[in-house]
């Protein structure tokens, strides 16, 4: 076939559009930008994580600042959650973490409440003050028991 600048330009646009689509899927939706090596790794141990899963959001004041990296059981049989946070964040070392639920049946996430300490959290630190997930069935069970007693 003969050379044709329009045809080549169309091929170029097609390839460009394809790569833009891949970039949108990867970065904007997939959150590929949150997978950086320099992420601030912090540990938090909970008595009960409920339905918390890796990749759940971590928020400060409702703003997403990171995600849950892994949820596993430690030697004391408590749930050990490692968080991958934005390294530019200057969280005090007495920050507390609690597992909350979006809506009544929504996804679970971790909310961080910054403390007042001057020393910031450094990579590998453990968050001291934690509040585990509330399990709806247990609450209902307690309620039923209490009503039964009265």
């Amino acid at each position: 076939m003969t050379e044709s600048p329009t045809r080549d330009a169309l091929v170029g646009l097609f390839v460009l559009a394809g790569f833009l689509a891949i970039a949108y899927l990867s970065v904007s939706l997939g959150g590929a930008n949150y997978r950086g090596e320099g992420g601030l790794e912090v540990i938090a141990t909970f008595d009960e994580v409920g339905g918390l899963k890796p990749r759940a959001q971590v928020v400060v004041g409702g703003v997403k600042v990171g995600q849950v990296d892994s949820v596993e059981l430690d030697e004391d049989l408590r749930a050990r959650v490692s968080l991958d946070l934005d390294p530019s964040l200057n969280l005090p070392s007495d920050t507390s973490a609690s597992i909350l639920t979006q809506g009544i049946l929504g996804d679970q996430y971790i909310a961080l409440e910054p403390g007042a300490e001057e020393i910031p959290l450094s990579p590998g630190d453990e968050i001291q003050f934690t509040q585990g997930a509330l399990i709806l069935e247990r609450l209902i069970g307690k309620l039923v028991q209490n009503i039964g007693v009265e």
């Binding site: 045809r7 080549d8 091929v11 097609f14 559009a17 891949i22 899927l25 939706l29 997939g30 996804d107």
Partner: protein, 259 residues
């Protein structure tokens, strides 16, 4: 002496295994031809135009239509549970993990795979490939290789475009027509999609389907029987075999790697 059904079963089994062997050898030759110098850049551009750019129209229209249907169906199901905020997750996950790559592969098979088989087949019939061989130009290198390479390049790009347009179609129906909150559509979408397991998986599927369609369509065209019925048989079997193989590999990829 004939043995009836047993003989037929045996023959079709050996034919099947023989066919697999031939197509594997053909893929090897094609791979070798693809890396042979000089690199046929001009030919690759022509084929990218034929396979990629000319497939855009059908991919765009189908992508938006599929996204709109997913949005509508998903909404009607979710609204019963009061969970229409999750519409973004439903549309996004089904498009990225399954429908984007698979439907694109089926559409491109029908539009471009059949064309490759028919073109190569008619070149076999009119002895054009023999003519090239006489000029000591390897048809695998000059004609077949660029077609296969363009298919492998174009398929993941078309699949990604299909997926993004489908997400827009779902947004159109869900948010603009049915009144789902735009913020919750997008945040459900972003929260449910993971780069490593979903996006990379989608790209791998697009790439594998591209390879399959490329090899099957060029092999069937290249080995078409040299008469007009041979060309039509090659075209038909390209579409049938490539579609079925795509669906089988889709299941295998999902089952083995959980994509």
């Amino acid at each position: 002496m004939t043995f009836g059904p047993a003989e037929r079963l045996g023959r079709s089994t050996t034919d099947f295994v023989l066919g697999l062997g031939k197509i594997t050898l053909f893929s090897g030759q094609l791979l070798k031809a693809a890396f042979r110098r000089p690199f046929r850049f001009r030919r690759l551009m022509d084929e990218l135009y034929n396979i990629g750019v000319l497939s855009l129209a059908i991919v765009i229209v189908s992508g938006v239509a599929v996204g709109m249907v997913l949005g509508l169906q998903g909404y009607n199901t979710l609204v019963r549970f009061g969970a229409e905020e999750s519409l973004g997750a439903v549309v996004g996950l089904s498009l990225i993990r399954e429908l984007g790559p698979v439907l694109t592969a089926l559409l491109v098979t029908g539009r471009a795979g059949s064309a490759i088989a028919a073109e190569l087949g008619s070149m076999v019939v009119t002895e054009q490939l023999d003519g090239l061989r006489m000029l000591s130009v390897d048809p695998l290198d000059f004609i077949v290789g660029p077609k296969a390479l363009a298919m492998v390049i174009a398929m993941p790009l078309l699949a990604a475009l299909f997926t993004v347009l489908g997400l827009m179609g779902g947004y159109l129906v869900g948010v603009l027509f049915l009144g789902v909150d735009p913020g919750s559509y997008l945040s459900a979408l972003e929260a449910s999609i993971d780069f490593r397991s979903d996006v990379v998986g989608s790209l791998i599927k697009g790439f594998v389907f591209g390879l399959l369609v490329a090899v099957i369509s060029t092999y069937r065209g290249y080995t078409a029987d040299p008469h007009s019925a041979g060309v039509s048989a090659a075209t038909t079997s390209t579409v049938v075999i490539a579609s079925v193989t795509t669906l089988i590999f889709d299941y295998l990829i999902t089952a083995l790697w959980g994509v």
